[in-house]
């Protein structure tokens, strides 16, 4: 399998506080990789730094053989790396449809915007019903669907879903993960940032565990045991 994203020893700081230390991981084309860790382990910081939203103080990020370290976020998205942020970050005052259309903002995605919009409606039919409503007025699960749909509108090759299940009802989580697997089956490479150890191992092919800003464990999701991961997760 060929590699699509490689992160080499990156450091990220919030002012004086080092939130990520020497983090490294790789993602291969077509796989689902999960990044597991407690609240505050540095997962979101790491993903935001890869996406260009936070500055990287040391290390490199390679995407498809190209060095993307320190690129502006809009350029990274344009290359095909998309990030669905924790807490969804929708455009709350805009309609569901406008949120989705914004996902196709990049010139290369605009020409297929109509077809992609139909695809998103097919994936999440409820969004078609709610198209004209303000995104902020939707339920948590529906908002998550808008966030996923918005990322898909940009025709990404790699998508990172950050805490996609946070605060959602179990049946909705199940439904959303089923859609995520469909996307992967169509060839999309996915990174799942998760706090739930069992779910992460079940949904992914490979896993990385983060603790206090460092990657402390990695391996095949099937061969890693829940006990092993939990130990690394809590730093025992």
């Amino acid at each position: 399998m060929s590699e699509i994203l490689r992160v080499e020893g990156i450091d990220v700081f919030y002012d004086d506080f080092q939130a990520v230390q020497q983090a490294s991981f790789t993602v291969n084309k077509g796989e689902i990789v999960s990044l597991i860790g407690t609240n505050g382990a540095g997962k979101t910081t790491l993903m935001r730094a890869i996406g260009g939203v936070l500055p990287i103080s040391a290390g490199k990020v390679w995407y498809d053989g190209q060095d993307i370290t320190g690129m502006m976020p809009h350029k990274i998205v344009d290359l095909g790396v998309s990030y669905v942020p924790e807490g969804r970050h929708l455009f709350n005052r805009m309609s569901v449809k406008d949120n989705l259309i914004m996902g196709s903002y990049m010139p290369r995605a605009r020409k297929n915007a109509k077809a992609n919009l139909e695809k998103v409606y097919e994936l999440f039919p409820i969004l078609k019903e709610k198209a004209e409503q303000a995104a902020g007025a939707l339920s948590g699960g529906q908002q998550q669907m808008v966030a996923i749909g918005r990322a898909l509108m940009g025709e990404p090759r790699v998508v990172c879903f950050d805490e996609i299940a946070l605060g959602l009802a179990p049946t909705i989580i199940k439904d959303i993960y089923a859609r995520v697997r469909e996307l992967n089956a169509e060839g999309m490479t996915l990174i799942l940032v998760e706090q739930d150890v069992r779910r992460s191992l079940k949904q992914s092919q490979r896993a990385y565990v983060m603790l206090k800003g460092k990657v402390v464990l990695e391996g095949d999701s099937r061969s890693l045991t829940e006990e092993e991961v939990s130990k690394a997760y809590f730093g025992m």
């Binding site: 996406g51 939203v53 998205v77 455009f91 709350n92 005052r93 259309i101 914004m102 903002y105 509108m153």
Partner: protein, 286 residues
């Protein structure tokens, strides 16, 4: 109702349409880039002087807009890209200081190049009026400026709703990081937003220059009008700006008719104070 009251209601509404356009750019920048542009009034007057330069060649202020509007867009865009974008995200004070400095610079450059003499953009339309009945007349220039003011607001509303760039500007004001994550270059979105705001200042400025006299230090009095319109309408609300302009214009002119013309300005600001006490978020804040 007596004719003079009807006359002042009409005049107030017409004035209000133009006031709305004066406040529009200010409101946009307040709501989107989150900058209080203290130089807004001075840019309005700058547009008057740019128009005055072209008046040397084209003897019609409305036609000079063909040049004034793109020039003002360019000034706004470059000012945002080269100065204001550098201090975005570093708190409220730096952009405030920059726009305060720009206000002083613009006023003094105008003073240097054009002297302190009062100027007016002469137009044949100034003395024309349409009569409605015996004692009620609609001044044509006021009517046109009101129509233009309302038209800018409607066009801007459609632009923001239906184009990719308009949506991107709204998205950036809703959630800056999310806008970046869908591929918006927020610095260029801010640049274009400032450029558009300056275009509205250009159009409203030229009409102000046709209706009233102006000199290099007139800017701040229009800044206060813009402020009032933004506060009454609700920050960043395009249609709120329109309603606020009409309310403010009406209050000034009709209030002036009832209490006495010397209180016209004062009445406007009393309305503003009442608004700040009763509904500080503005009439139309979402």
């Amino acid at each position: 109702m007596d004719a003079a009251l009807i006359q002042s209601i009409i005049q107030g509404l017409l004035m209000g349409g133009l006031y709305a356009a004066v406040g529009l750019g200010m409101s946009m920048i307040f709501g989107i880039v989150r900058i209080t542009n203290l130089a807004h009034g001075d840019f309005l007057i700058l547009a008057c002087y740019i128009s005055l330069i072209f008046m040397g060649v084209i003897n019609n202020p409305i036609v000079t807009l063909v040049f004034v509007v793109p020039i003002m867009f360019f000034i706004g865009f470059s000012m945002q890209r080269s100065l204001l974008n550098r201090v975005i995200g570093r708190g409220d004070e730096p952009p405030l200081l920059i726009t305060f400095g720009l206000s002083i610079i613009v006023q003094n450059l105008l003073l240097y190049f054009f002297t302190a003499d009062a100027q007016r953009l002469h137009s044949n339309l100034l003395l024309e009026s349409i009569s409605l009945g015996e004692r009620v007349r609609i001044p044509v220039l006021w009517l046109i400026s009101c129509i233009v003011g309302v038209a800018i607001i409607l066009v801007l509303g459609l632009y923001m709703k239906n184009t990719y760039m308009g949506r991107a500007i709204r998205a950036t004001s809703d959630d800056t990081e999310a806008a970046q994550l869908v591929g918006v270059n927020i610095k260029s979105a801010y640049g274009i937003a400032m450029g558009i705001a300056m275009m509205t200042a250009a159009v409203s400025g030229v009409f102000i220059g046709m209706v009233f006299t102006f000199y290099p230090s007139t800017g701040p009095s229009y800044l206060i009008i813009a402020f009032a319109v933004v506060v009454i309408g609700g920050i960043g609300s395009i249609y709120g700006t329109l309603a606020a302009g009409l309310i403010f214009g009406l209050a000034q002119v009709v209030g002036g008719y009832i209490v006495g013309p010397q209180y016209q300005q004062l009445i406007g600001y009393v309305i503003l104070l009442i608004m700040l006490v009763l509904r500080p978020q503005g009439l139309f804040q979402r």
